[in-house]
Amino acid sequence: MTVLLAFDLLLAASIVGLAAATLLMRDAFAMIVAFIVFGMLLALGWARLVAPDVALAEVAIGAGLSGALLLRTLAHLRGGGLSAQGGASVSAPTNGATQGINALLAGLATCALGLAYLGAPQNVPGLEAHVTDAMPESGVTHPVTAVLLNFRAYDTLMEVVVLLAAVIVVWQVERGLAETPAPALGTVYQGFARVALPVAVIAGGYLLWIGAEAPGGAFQAGAVLGAVAVLGLLSRHVRPAPAHRPLARGTFVAGTAIFALVALGVSGAGRETFEYPPAHAKTLILLIEAMVTVSIAATLAALFHGREPVTVATGKETT
């Protein structure tokens, strides 16, 4: 126990240290790498707290996809290569005094929060009992999935809406002007991609399926599939073109639409919205998960790609 506790302490310290390191890194690339490592350690910590679903999500999305997005942006900011120094500034750097005050205040706030945290009762019974009670009616056996797609399905729907909103905004913001092409992978990687892609697809499907009973589920699966798409983009296997737009739009909204339609569709006749008929609960949840997974994958890929495919005047390529 004590060894584990020591490990926990060490891990927690590493997490905090990496967080600090992330902020202190001079170089933007190093900063992003530190952030990704931070995410990995964080996932480890969450695994220690018996939260494998979260850990998975963090690795796949929090660290992985976010890291990829950051790197891609950095590449853009540096005009294609990752070696150049810099990164755009928001404003003039603040002076030492202000920084000191900021640090002091943030530290004070953290201390106050820490005190409050320590003052809070430990082990207050949460909702686990309710969850356990309601599990049989949820249609799935994995509690996290049950919470995500049944008990708090509304939140999840809105989460998908957030994703949808994100992709809409990203498409709206970026429209392919003065564009540096995404870094292409070498041929070796292309070969790797050829092998890796089918595997990843299968892994994603498995994650989706297993989500009903064990850690895994739509988001993780979507993240894996999204990674597949990202690989596809990087390896130029997938080349978004204006012609793809309707399809892309359809894919983005499919998850949200199906989710919401199901939610509404099951209502009536004494049932509330989102109240799946117990008999069809598993089917409906799977259906939703499947659609959401596809949408998430497409959305994440699109977020990575970062712009609506439009015809640009250069005519070289629809990027």
Binding site: S91, T98, L105, A109, A112, P121, P125, H130
Partner: protein
């Protein structure tokens, strides 16, 4: 000794006058001019009264002397002469007719001072005539059209007056059988005699309707001459009445009525006429006339009620002294004003002139007011029927005098008296100021001078300010009215509101400037703050600050109680 003193008193001016004939001595004479009255003054101040010195050899056996009453007249007269002589010396410094003037001046001085010392009728008459006729030269001095006219008028009246006086004195001497003035004054003279005497002295006094000569003469004469004409010589008329008429001995009701009525008319008519005058010195002349009206009231009352004389006489003496000093001061002041070159100096003189003007107008506690109050008290013993009217007249005379004084001060600026070029201003200002101060100090020094005769003055009420105030108000109103009639209503109103508006505008300007400065600062502040905040991204810092604040404030209430709240949370969290 008294003889020598008398000789000095009369002989000094007379001798100086004679010395003037010698061209070589003229400078000396002019330098000594202001010392000429001093022997007489010294005699009056330090001589033991009464005393008489008979000089049988002189004229009809002249008797000279000084009694208590004459002394009270002599002192102010000598003072006035001294001041006027000092003024005359500078005034005439560059005058080509200075010698003539000096001659007349010294003769008049001799006559004036001498008549107070005369004890018998012929001597008195002689001095009186000497004074009167030599004054003609004073009035005429300028030789201008105006001066000629005034002198003509003057001499006509002097002639008439002398005639009446001569007749009166003659009759009186006849009736009394003695040449001595004291005897004449003790005898119940016949009415015509008294009337003649009154007329004769009345001319000098300037009581209406015998006043016509006075204002023009005062206006036309050079300033020092005006001062003595008004300050000293008029009093000779009064002294004549006091010395010759059997006041307190017999009642002359009809004459009393005439004199009283004349006095009343004089007080106000002089105002009306004076108000129309433009020359400031003429205005002062009318003021003298008006003042003599007051004196006439006292005399008239004594004529009607002899019992009142005992009370009236000291008061009249005081009034005479008061008027002599104040009015002579005013005349010299007018001269002092005339010789100033800068407006500021003129303004200073004007301000100084306000003092004698106020004294004359009856400023409470000063001699004018005290004299009037004392006269009122004294007349309490006089004819009861007239008393209310007289009281009223005295009060209104304050108003009238105030108006005249205001008119004088205003006209001084409008129509500056003529003055010879190159006059040394100090030579006028100093006598003027001294006289004015003497007039102001009169109530204080009078008891030491007059002894028991000062009793009524010392006991007099301080006087009321309202005639003065009323006069000032009327004067202001009249000024405003006349100004308005000249420039129109709206201009007047604008003038009235102008200072307030200017002040308001100035304050407004200052405020506007202040406000502008402030608003400039206020305008500069937000951008500066903005820039500062943006530069340091303090908005961001604000987030943390607010968070800390809220957490600390929120947490504080949980720290305070020592016993941490540890409720069985489970109970709170049932489904």
């Amino acid at each position: 000794m008294p003889g020598l003193a008398l000789l000095a008193a009369i002989g000094t001016p007379l001798g100086l006058a004679l010395l003037l004939a010698l061209p070589a001595a003229r400078g000396l004479v002019w330098r000594a001019l202001s010392f000429a009255p001093l022997p007489a003054l010294a005699l009056a101040l330090f001589g033991t009264v009464p005393f008489t010195v008979s000089n049988d050899w002189l004229i009809l056996g002249s008797v000279l002397g000084l009694d208590a009453t004459a002394r009270l007249f002599l002192i102010p007269a000598a003072l006035v002469w001294t001041a006027a002589a000092a003024a005359a010396r500078v005034w005439m410094a560059g005058d080509r007719r200075a010698t003539g003037f000096g001659l007349c001046f010294l003769f008049a001085m001799t006559g004036n001072l001498g008549l107070f010392l005369a004890d018998d009728a012929p001597t008195f008459y002689a001095f009186f005539a000497l004074m009167s006729f030599s004054s003609y030269g004073l009035v005429l001095h300028a030789r201008s059209e105006e001066a000629l006219g005034a002198a003509r008028l003057y001499i006509a009246f002097v002639l008439a007056g002398e005639l009446a006086l001569f007749a009166g004195l003659g009759l009186a001497v006849g009736e009394t059988g003695s040449l001595m003035l004291a005897d004449i004054a003790d005898t119940a003279l016949s009415v015509p005699t008294v009337a003649l005497l009154l007329a004769g002295f009345g001319v000098k006094l300037g009581v209406m309707p015998l006043h016509f000569w006075l204002p023009p003469a005062h206006g036309a004469a050079p300033v020092p001459a005006s001062a003595v004409l008004s300050g000293a010589m008029i009093k000779a008329g009064l002294f004549g009445i006091v010395a010759t008429l059997p006041l307190g001995e017999a009642a002359y009701a009809d004459l009393g009525v005439v004199v009283t009525a004349a006095g009343m008319v004089t007080i106000f008519a002089a105002l009306l006429m004076g108000a129309r005058e433009t020359a400031p010195k003429t205005v002062l002349g009318f003021s003298s006339v008006s003042q003599m009206g007051i004196v006439a009231l006292g005399i008239g009352a004594a004529l009607m009620a002899p019992g009142a004389w005992g009370a009236v006489l000291p008061v009249l003496a005081f009034l005479a002294a008061h008027h002599a000093l104040a009015k002579a001061g005013l005349f010299l002041g007018a001269g002092a004003f005339a010789v100033q070159h800068s407006p500021a100096a003129r303004m200073a003189v004007t301000v100084a002139l306000v003092l004698p003007a106020l004294i004359l107008a009856g400023m409470p506690l000063l001699s004018g007011a005290l004299g009037k109050e004392a006269l009122k008290t004294a007349l309490g013993a006089g004819p009861a029927v007239w008393l209310p009217w007289i009281t009223l007249a005295l009060m209104l005379s304050g108003v009238a005098t105030t108006l005249l004084m205001a008119r004088f001060l205003v006209q001084l600026w409008r129509k500056r008296p003529a003055a010879p070029a190159g006059v040394e201003s100090d030579g006028l200002v100093i006598p003027f100021v001294l006289l004015a101060l003497a007039a102001a100090a009169l109530p204080a020094i009078w008891p030491t001078v007059a002894g028991s005769a000062a009793q009524p003055i010392a006991e007099a009420a301080p006087g009321t300010p309202w005639p003065l105030v009323a006069g000032a108000l009327i004067a202001t109103a009249a000024a405003v009215a006349s100004h308005t009639s000249r420039v129109g209503w709206s201009a007047v109103l604008s003038t009235l509101t102008a200072p307030a508006e200017r002040a308001a505008a100035r304050v407004g300007d200052a405020l506007v400037r202040r406000r502008r400065a402030l608003s400039r600062k206020a305008r500069a502040l937000p951008p500066a703050l903005d820039g500062w905040i943006a530069e340091h991204r303090l908005g961001q810092t604000g987030i943390a600050a607010l968070l800390v604040a809220v957490l600390v404030i929120g947490g504080a209430q949980h720290v305070a109680p020592t016993d941490p709240i540890a409720p069985p949370a489970a109970e709170q969290n049932g489904p």
